[in-house]
């Protein structure tokens, strides 16, 4: 495992860059799908790129109450999510950085970003920020057991928390045999919706204090900082989608490096992830925002689903 050539490392960095670069596209595709299923035309799928570039060029206004935590948070968010991208296999069956960190490190990096986002919400002395942090605290606390239980099912079945190991053994098996993994899939899907702030949990397209969670925390951001926040949120989303695809739909990964294989792998990756993104967006148009305290019911579903996954796995 440890003897990788320079080409491998180059491809590894290329995979990470691919995730970082493609992330706004997925956001665009999701918005387009939503618009279509609501009988709107919607903006183009490249709109998020234009938004990020425009925001990067704007002056920013920051709150006079805020401290360095507020200013550092967008950078920390970007660094943590972009670093997590290095450990995710995209079109190769492995990531050469797999030996550096595993899925628990990815979870930890996300948690670090979220820790600072919650602090930034509190930093501006606005009640909106506190509201967002308080709700995010609740959701993140409840998601954690479901997440680790799902990781447990996946790790026990595929023999590792190292994502490269998981993907290569998933690539070798056919998925239908394993009821435990099916339950893990349900749990992971719910977790994915919760972590990326999708509809039954959080409505990212409104600025209404009744519904917002993530938006409330980033309400005070503008300009460059906002661009980085949005971008890192998009990267986190695509990483979760990629993990989903890697673990549950693991077909036709590139094992032998060749130009055709890689370009085919990239195409397949984009198709799979955009299909998943469209599906998620479609689900989003079908459900309403749940009351905050009913969100815990949904997460309880994820927890029990992963618990049954464990039972199926062992008995």
């Amino acid at each position: 495992m440890s003897d990788f050539s320079m080409l491998d490392y180059g491809l590894g960095i290329f995979q990470a860059l691919l995730i970082i670069v493609l992330s706004p596209l997925i956001v665009g595709i999701m918005r387009k799908t939503k618009a279509k299923s609501q009988k709107r035309i919607g903006s183009g799928i490249f709109q998020p790129y234009y938004d990020i570039i425009k925001l990067l060029r704007k002056d920013e206004i920051i709150s006079d109450q805020s401290s360095w935590i507020f200013r550092a948070t967008p950078w920390i968010n970007f660094v943590t999510t972009a670093s997590a991208a290095f450990f995710i296999p995209v079109f190769l069956v492995y990531s050469p950085f797999g030996v550096v960190g595993d899925i628990l490190l990815v979870v930890g990096l996300f948690a670090l970003g979220r820790f600072f986002t919650m602090l930034a919400g509190l930093d501006t002395a606005s009640s909106f920020g506190g509201l967002g942090s308080s709700r995010e605290m609740m959701v993140s606390v409840l998601v954690e057991p479901a997440l680790f239980m799902t990781i447990f099912v996946i790790a026990s079945f595929y023999g590792g928390t190292n994502i490269s190991t998981i993907v290569s053994s998933a690539n070798d098996t056919s998925i239908l045999v394993v009821p435990g993994i099916l339950f893990a899939l349900i749990a992971f899907f719910i977790i994915m919706m919760a972590e990326t702030g999708k509809l039954p949990f959080d409505n990212p397209s409104t600025h209404l204090e009744l519904t917002m969670i993530h938006e409330a925390m980033v309400l005070e951001y503008s300009g460059k900082s906002l661009a980085l926040m949005e971008w890192s949120h998009a990267i986190k989303q695509i990483i979760l989608f990629t993990l989903f695809v890697d673990i549950f739909l693991p077909w036709n990964f590139v094992e032998q490096i060749s130009l055709i294989g890689i370009s085919f792998g990239i195409m397949l990756f984009i198709v799979k992830v955009s299909a998943l993104a469209s599906f998620t967006a479609f689900i989003e148009t079908r459900v309403a925002k749940w009351r905050l305290f009913r969100v815990s019911d949904l997460i309880a579903m994820a927890i029990s689903s992963s618990m049954i996954g464990v039972i199926f796995f062992f008995l």
Partner: protein, 681 residues
């Protein structure tokens, strides 16, 4: 080794010097220096001693020999040396911190007592760890308990402190009672008070060892603060002066862990009997419950020091989970996993000492500077005390187990050993231990929420009272004390092999120690990589991403201005400090979901302008309280029950002299009968 032995003498001499000077230089200008510089020096020597033991052989000698009962034996092996490292490192930082911190008590007339007790407390902990004999172990254990009791009630002007000191005294003696019973059981089998005879495990039957271990576990667990015997901990730790709370939480709890480790891995041969499966599972269950319940109470606590004390219970729980897993794995002869879980547990022990010491010192700095422990009165301190805020941030990130600090490594290792339960060849155990992951994961999540709340409310947004507005940064010596531990957090996080190698060589584990730049990796049976972690490389990725994105933003974005302006107030005019989220409201959602633990209670009083018209409200007061179900349901019942019984017993004490004589007579007759029957047999 003779040099090492002389270091021991020098350590004891310097602590005694500190204690004496502390007592006799009362009221002098350089009082603090006379007291704390010797202790800092002696603590530093303790670190050197433990490192020397790692690289050379153990010290084992007997001092005086009185009928084999009371001989003072010392024995410093790797296990003791590992805990000596903790007793060296934390008190070293705390002593430097105390040089300035003790100025807070300058106008108190018993300031000298604080310095004396501080020194005696540390030396008693060292002596507990190195003594190798039941009698002296218990003497020093008691000395440790008593000095810490006096330190808890040091600020005895406050009635609450006295009360919590009393709770501590009762609970700690309950624990000592259990330990004593356990030792007596072992003595009954071996006929010797020396720990050496206890190590000779072959002569003791298995069931006796099990009972002795359970008794010792309860006893040491009381000291460590396991649920449900934790009740003294959240009372005593906040009452003591902050430098002492740092020592109690960071070091004294670890002495209890030391006792359990001694029992488990030294006096017992784990893995030799299937009983250890159930002992291990029991430890895991108690650990999970302690972790979960501890952090649940920390989350809603407004007293910053009490919140930290509850979080200590949580971390002790995590350490127990690791220990229990190690025992279970060993019972199934999964040696490498057992080593993994044990390393996880000991790594977390070391970590917890470091960051909990750091956090308690920071809490002390906040108290030093604002004279309040209630976080609802704080806020905005990051602008007033930037360095303290930085230290608290490092401590928080470390304690909630986020990369790249040391807490992450400890929790990563613990999680990996939990994930490895699928290798246990028993279905029922696999599934039930898998559910321990649920508790552990919830604990991690709640810990994150707790420290967001503590840091956010204390340091961020607007100041909530004049106490916080007038705060200033603490003196430099206090910052240096904290910085020592903060840098240890960073160092152990980025180069975890420093810690792992220490543990491996201390406990003589079957594992080859390697360079600090090694990858932690766990491999499957077929050779594929189960998990691996290489923190220096993570740091390199961090740095390259930072450089990359910074360049990207500069190139695409160009130069832009940053304007400072008021927070968005929806156009309603300026926001005040009363419109921000408070500590209570921040935790409200979680308080509602886990309401069963808190009994949350809102007392609402509405004042109207006139009695006739209740709709014109003058003011609405809401008092929101949470209650501790353990104090209320468990201890409340026990206390009222024992009061009832004692009330009945009090009838015996009638006040009449005749009655007392009657008692004497009855006792005498009873004794005589007893002896008489004894002889006839």
């Amino acid at each position: 080794m003779s040099e090492n032995l002389s270091i021991v003498y020098v350590i004891i001499a310097f602590f005694s010097l500190g204690a004496t000077l502390g007592l006799f230089t009362r009221g002098q200008k350089y009082h603090a220096y006379f007291t704390y510089i010797p202790s800092a020096f002696a603590s530093f020597l303790t670190i050197i001693l433990s490192l020397a033991i790692f690289s050379s052989e153990n010290i084992h000698l007997t001092f005086f020999n009185i009928q084999h009962l009371f001989d003072f034996e010392i024995f410093i092996d790797g296990v003791a040396a590992f805990f000596l490292l903790i007793i060296g490192l934390i008190p070293f930082a705390v002593s430097i911190y105390s040089l300035s911190y003790s100025k807070k008590f300058d106008d108190k007339k018993n300031n000298s007592a604080l310095g004396m007790l501080f020194n005696v407390f540390i030396i008693s902990m060292i002596l507990v760890v190195i003594s190798n004999n039941v009698f002296f172990f218990l003497i020093f254990w008691e000395l440790m308990s008593l000095t810490s009791f006096f330190l808890v009630i040091y600020e005895h002007e406050n009635k609450n402190n006295l009360k919590s000191g009393l709770t501590y005294l009762v609970m700690t003696h309950l624990g000592t009672g259990f330990i004593f019973a356990s030792f007596m059981l072992m003595y009954a089998q071996t006929g010797s008070f020396s720990f050496d005879s206890f190590r000779d495990v072959t002569i003791i039957p298995q069931y006796v060892k099990d009972i002795a271990f359970v008794l010792a576990f309860v006893g040491f667990g009381t000291k460590a603060g396991m649920i449900p015997l934790h009740t003294w901990l959240p009372k005593a730790h906040p009452s003591a002066p902050s430098n002492v709370s740092a020592l109690m939480s960071a070091v004294m709890l670890k002495i209890a862990i030391y006792g359990i480790v001694r029992y488990l891995f030294d006096f017992n041969a784990i893995g030799s009997s299937s009983d250890y499966v159930w002992l291990g599972v029991g430890i895991i269950i108690i650990g999970s419950i302690s972790a979960l319940v501890g952090i649940l109470y920390a989350l809603v606590e407004n007293n910053i020091k009490r919140a930290l004390a509850f979080s200590s219970i949580e971390n002790i729980g995590i350490i127990f989970i690791g220990l229990g897993l190690s025992v279970v794995f060993a019972a199934f002869h999964l040696l490498s996993l057992s080593v993994l879980a044990f390393i996880a547990s000991m790594f977390h022990t070391l970590n917890h000492s470091i960051f909990k010491g750091l956090l308690f010192m920071t809490a002390g700095s906040i108290h030093y500077s604002t004279h309040t422990k209630n976080i609802e009165d704080l806020g905005g301190l990051i602008k007033k005390m930037p360095w303290t805020a930085m230290m608290f941030l490092i401590g928080s990130i470390a304690i909630i187990g986020l990369p790249p600090l040391n807490g992450f490594i400890g929790e990563w290792l613990t999680l990996q050993s939990l994930l490895a339960v699928f290798q246990i060849p028993s279905n029922i155990l696999q599934v039930s231990l898998a559910f321990a992951i649920l508790a552990f994961a919830l604990t991690i999540g709640l810990a994150g929420a707790t420290f967001v709340r503590l840091f956010g409310i204390t340091f961020l947004s607007k100041s909530r009272s004049s106490k916080a507005i007038n705060a200033v940064e603490v003196p430099r010596l206090m910052l240096i004390g904290k910085a020592i531990l903060a840098s240890s957090c960073v160092l152990l996080g980025i180069l975890p092999f420093i810690g792992i190698n220490l543990i491996v060589s201390a406990f003589d584990l079957p594992y080859t120690p390697s360079s600090p730049f090694e990858t932690i990796s766990i491999t499957n049976a077929d050779g594929s990589n189960f998990a691996s972690l290489l923190m220096p490389a993570v740091l390199i990725i961090f740095v390259s991403v930072i450089v990359g994105i910074f360049a990207f933003v500069r190139i695409i974005g160009g130069k832009t201005k940053t304007i400072k302006y008021g927070t968005w107030d929806c156009g309603f005019g300026s926001l005040s400090e009363r419109t921000q989220y408070t500590a209570t409201s921040l935790a409200e959602p979680i308080r509602r979901i886990f309401g069963i633990f808190y009994n949350p209670y809102n007392d609402i009083t509405v004042n109207s302008y006139a009695k006739e018209n209740l709709y014109l409200k003058k003011s609405i007061n809401v008092i929101s309280t949470t209650r501790n179900i353990f104090d209320e349901k468990l201890y409340g019942k026990i206390i009222s029950g024992s009061l009832f019984v004692l009330d009945k017993i009090r009838k015996i004490q009638s006040g009449k002299v005749n009655a007392y004589i009657l008692y004497i007579m009855i006792t005498l007759i009873a004794l005589l009968l007893f002896v008489g029957f004894g002889i006839h047999e």
